[in-house]
Amino acid sequence: MAEPLRIAGGQGFYGDATGPLADVLDESPDVVVLEALAELTLAILAKDRARDETLGWTRDLPLYLMALVPAMLERGTTVITNAGGINPVAAANMVVKAAGAMGVTGLRIATVVGDDVRGRPDLLPDEFPSADDLLFANAYLGARPIVEALEANANLVITGRVADAALFLAPLVHHHGWAWDDWERLAAGTVVGHLLECSGQATGGNHAGQWWEVPQPWRFGFPIADVAADGTAVIGKPSAAGGRVDFDTVRQQLLYEVHDPSAYVTPDVVVDMTTVQLEDLGDDRVRVSGATGRPAPAGYKLVAAEGGGYAADLSVAFGWPDAEAKARAAADLARKRIAEAGLELDGWHVELFGVNALHGPAVPPLPDGQPSEVVLRMAWSTTDKDRCGQVARHIIPLGLSGPPPAFTPASRARPRPSQLLRLHTGVVDRRPVDAAVAVSVVQL
């Protein structure tokens, strides 16, 4: 039976910190996984690719690799990432070029493609918009192609869209030789992946319990798991780093963005998290065991997005007295001025920070008197980008020409339109997708 595999979560999103990798590497992980793709990141990357065919991957990948390549070459650390985004081949080319220019040898880079189905209109569900209107359309692949890459002795695996947890499950399947119908083991590995995929969120980040007691909160340790052949895992963090691993921090991440905890669906296994046992071992270590699983559904999850107009926002602060009254009056005047200017809006949304911005109609009447200040946030959407930008011109004159006194812009920047996206989620048949999945390997 193989030794436990030590896996670290080295990135939780595009734009995450790279500093914590130094502490992670001090713990000598066998595998570091960089998870770079939130639900919408592909939209950003699709825009990059439309502008430049060599882009379309998350552009902090080189920063992460600069931190990791020495360990890959000297200690045999394996790195697995979905940073390939909408263009994994271009990401691999970038690595080959950059590493080659520095004279690096010993990298074996595998690229996984086949998740991008925008070029296969026949595979899109009927209720989806036509492929021409989509910014991206990607299936969530499972762990199999990554395992294939590891079997080809890759030490850097670059994918596009795969289920986040599959990035972590794959090296476990490869290392421990788990079978593709060993549902308990696949479930265990998926739970480990789910716990590690959000970096610091497993080690006390966003801790809704006693968050103010998390040690060294400016230096978060990223999570590490030692996973045994039977799937039992011990979650921990680098000893020198801050953060906290205990029953509370781990159970929050266990259920994070899971809908039905008895049926967490991935391309590799449907996980039942209600059988998972968490044992707090103390000393920032939690043992995870007992996950159960059953066969995954016949199709892959498919997420696509189309443009949905443009939005911008503007925030203005009002002070005591009558801060809320001034803010509400300013919002009504702003909307009137926009209408008078003949600018048609698709959406208009008013929030009063200090009153109800975050919880809206769920906020009960305030118990004691007036807030000392209110920030009015006005957000709007339009079909047309230029019109979206013009709207602010009709609000800003309120600074001199509106009755509510002391109109104070709350940020220095002028509103800039950004594109809204309409998401479409569906299911795509596996066979035609799998037929296009390909793993290629380049040796440096």
Partner: protein, 141 residues
């Protein structure tokens, strides 16, 4: 004897998002509070406390192995992260409103809850690592 407490005195919550769906999980500190949450924090009460903030249905899932009760709120994020005009377009703050729900608890559970620590108004005021205090004259201290 029993008394009324807001849920926030008994438990904490974390929220996440997928599309226009928000998920809010209530984490209980022990089995006694977990059982109370299961009994009293019904999907109907949760839907009512969010009001029009949540346009769709509310589903509840019990997760006793980690003393958690999960609520999945449909059509809860103003169209979902990428098309919502809300500042909180990802619903990071959606765990808040549910904590205002009034819960009936036995006195001994209330006594334990009253011992639950809260952050001070300036939690890191005494921390040695704080870099600069001078620039924060407006922070209310």
């Amino acid at each position: 004897m029993t008394q009324q407490l807001p849920l926030g005195e008994l438990a904490f919550t974390r929220a996440g998002d997928k599309g226009d769906t928000s998920d809010v999980t209530v984490f209980a500190p022990d089995r006694a509070v977990y059982d109370i949450v299961v009994e009293q924090v019904t999907p109907e009460r949760v839907a009512a406390c969010y009001g029009e903030l949540v346009q769709g249905s509310v589903h509840r899932y019990e997760v006793p192995n980690v003393l958690a009760v999960k609520f999945v709120l449909e059509r809860a994020l103003g169209g979902g992260g990428p098309s919502s005009l809300r500042a909180d377009n990802l619903g990071k703050a959606m765990g808040g409103p549910i904590l205002r729900l009034s819960i009936t608890v036995p006195d001994e559970v209330a006594a334990q809850a009253s011992g639950r620590p809260r952050p001070s108004r300036d939690p890191y005021a005494e921390a040695a690592w704080v870099v600069e205090r001078a620039g924060s004259a407006h922070n209310g201290r």
